[in-house]
Each structure stands twice: as structure tokens, then as C-alpha cells.
Symmetry: C2
Subunit: 230 residues, 2 copies
């Protein structure tokens, strides 16, 4: 019988924010498929291995780029390796930081794996933006307000910031100068805060985003609360 | 020494989607503060007690209305009971379904409790919309697309549905007729699906929202993927 591919959200960084289900499935799987960026950065794996015993796992490293702009060929190659393990009857856990359905590469791989006739299952995780708001002891959204989550690669950040409700700008690191300029122009800096590397050893919370360094790193979440419409 | 108030997201329904941290904190707290609606519905408590031993806990039930339109007086009364326990040196865990920062009553109570000089800490959880997308084996959002989360009580659902990206309409149950009419008018029904009572015993996934019954219940998440802009 073929194995099954599990897509697992490991949560944003603190291994204690992994779900009971994620830990159980990882422990039960023989194969771990872990994204690796810049040839070395395995953020999701680093989280999981602090809680799960990885010593006897068969590892599949997938060399993706940050931000997910990978070629179809790269996805096919990752799927090849995973399907080989599944065809040998092994279950595999594909790890992704945060939640498995939010800006994850898993969906591309899962589509290929399913097309080839294998079964998949998803296990959700805590998102970085929920953890960032918690770390800053803030409510992300309340009452009848919408919540708008914007990846920093999005072309419409400017107009989306005008929507009523809280705006989350994910993975702001590489665009921090532009994000700060937009928030300043719109008079939104007083209601904005940022969390870098939430739940990781180098976590930092900036209540004043003018203090956020240009070198704040990829895992930076900027959250602009909505005070203008209240 | 005074106790501390922990705000805990228990995840959307499946007790296995609780985080390791949520389970640890609940087990360590002497006091559990659980919202109760309609005098009997304690959804967050029902989730937690499947995993944590509640037999020796001091319980504080908080009679809130669904949707969070409660009076300041009701919040003050809940805070009174919690602060009494904190002043006796007991730690208290305030349970909320899903994540603690997303449309939770916790923020109102925490504000009062902090104003009275007590310490608080938040523990995030898996949101219903992430779990709903996982249950339906869908990606919630990809690449440079925004994600818009809309409570069904929001007045601007119509215009928010026109934004590029995935739209999540939370707690759609009571407004399902209106939500379905809007999605139909906008030609979005083909790309929409719904999950009722995600992770609970009566979970149901509707790939076709025209099949969604008018009686689908409070915990219904409608998700409209964005195919028009692709």
C-alpha cells in the first residue's frame, strides 16, 4: 500500500506552538520533507526537531527560494523524491513554518503528488501574524472589523492599507523601507507595530516602527491597527 | 504574589489542534475562565477538557453573547471574578475558541484586568479559517495575493468581496442567505466552499455552497477563492 503525504504547519517559531496533531504525525512518519532555503536555512525543521525525535527519519531536503517563486521543475523534482518514498509504503510529513495553507509551497507539491495518485492530508498550524499579535499582547481584530493579510510582494499594498480594519504585512523584511514610507504617508505609524522572528531566539517587538532596522530580516510582521475609522 | 491571567486559543474544534503550550498552561493553572453562551454552550471548554484534566480546577463561567456584543458591565463582572482569583495568587486560563487575538472577547477582559494591575500573557491558537482550508485540502492564499477575513457582521462584505485574493467570511451561519446572494450576484459561487463546525463531531464540508443549508449554524466558514483575477 502506498504511503500518504501529510502537510504540516509547525507554527511560527516557538516549538511549544506546535499542535498535538503535528507532533503526533511527525513522530509517526518515516520520511520528513523539509524546505531548505539558501542551501542551509531549514526553519520549519528547526522548530520540529526541538520537540520530535528526528534521529531515525529519512530526510528529503527541498531547496526552495524564499518567497516561493520557484520553478515548476523544482516542484516536480521535490514531488519525485516524495512520491518515491510514498510508493515504498512510507508516510511522509512535509513541514512548513506557520500554517500549511497560508503562503506555503505545499499546495504546489500536493497538487503534483495527488495527480500522481497519492493521498494527502493537511494539518493546520498557528500563523505568524496571530503569534505576533499575541507576543505584542494585542488583539488582531475585533467586532465587525475585517482583517487584511498582505504579503510584502503584493502590488496593491498602498490601496489595501486604506481598507477599514487591521492590516498585516507579512514577510516585510525585504520591503521594510517601502512599507514604512507608506505607513508614514498615510499617518498610520502611531497605530503600527512590528514583530521580528516571532517565537525564535532573536524575537524582537517594535512598538515604534521607526525604530525597526532596515536589516530586520525576512520573518518580520508589520501590523497596522485601525484607529482612524473608530 | 498575584496570579497571572493567560489568554488561551484552544484552536477551532479538534482537541488535537491545541498547541503544546496551551495544554501546558491550562494544566498548570488553578482557575479556568470559560465563556458560556446561551447559558450552556461552552465550546472552548469542551475542546480543552478532551485533553486537559479539569477535575480539580476552580471554574469561572462567563455568560457572553455570541458575536461579542456584550455590555461593559458584563465584561467588568467577568473581570471581577478573574481578579478575585488572581489576587489570591492563583493563575487563571481564559479559554477562547480558535486564536486568542482573532475576534475574541479576551481583549476587553484583559484590558480591565491589566488596568487593575495584574499581568497577562497570550497564547495563540489555530484559527478556524486555517483549519477550514486544511479540512477542504485547499490552499488559503498563495504568492502575492492578499487574504481578507470578514466577520459576517461586517457592513462592507459587498465591497470587500471585490478585492483580489481569497475572502474568508467567518461565522457566516446567521447571515448565510445574504452571503450566498452576494456570492451568486458576483459570480463567485464556483470558487466558493464552506466548512461547518470544523474539527467538531458534526463537521461538514460543502464544495458547492448552494447545498449549504440555511440552518448551517454559527460556526460556518465560507471561503471564496479568487479565480477571476488569475
Amino acid at each position: 500500500m502506498n504511503g500518504k503525504l501529510y502537510g504540516i504547519g509547525t507554527g511560527p517559531g516557538d516549538p511549544e506552538l506546535m499542535t498535538l496533531k503535528a507532533v503526533r504525525i511527525i513522530n509517526e512518519c518515516e520520511v520528513i520533507a523539509a524546505p531548505r532555503t539558501s542551501g542551509k536555512n531549514t526553519a520549519a525543521l528547526n522548530i520540529a526537531e526541538q520537540v520530535c525525535d528526528m534521529s531515525r527519519k529519512e530526510m528529503i531536503y527541498m531547496d526552495f527560494s524564499m518567497g516561493g517563486a520557484d520553478s515548476d521543475e523544482l516542484h516536480e523534482r521535490a514531488a519525485d523524491n516524495i512520491c518515491k518514498a510514498l510508493s515504498e509504503g512510507k508516510n511522509a510529513a512535509f513541514l512548513t513554518i506557520g500554517d500549511i495553507t497560508v503562503y506555503s509551497t505545499f499546495s504546489y507539491i500536493a497538487e503534483i503528488v495527488e495527480r500522481r495518485g497519492y493521498e494527502t492530508e493537511l494539518c493546520p498550524g498557528v500563523t505568524s501574524f496571530c503569534a505576533a499579535a499575541s507576543a505584542a499582547k494585542r488583539s488582531l481584530t475585533e467586532k465587525d472589523s475585517p482583517l487584511v493579510v498582505i504579503p510584502s510582494s503584493c502590488g496593491e499594498i498602498d490601496s489595501l492599507l486604506d481598507i477599514r480594519g487591521t492590516k498585516v504585512i507579512m514577510k516585510s523584511g525585504r520591503k521594510i523601507t517601502e512599507v514604512r514610507r507608506l505607513l508614514t504617508e498615510k499617518g498610520m505609524t502611531d497605530s503600527a507595530y512590528a514583530v521580528c522572528s516571532c517565537g525564535m531566539a532573536d524575537e524582537r517587538i517594535y512598538e515604534d516602527i521607526s525604530e525597526l532596522p532596515d536589516s530586520c530580516g525576512y520573518f518580520t510582521t508589520v501590523i497596522a491597527e485601525d484607529i482612524s475609522h473608530e
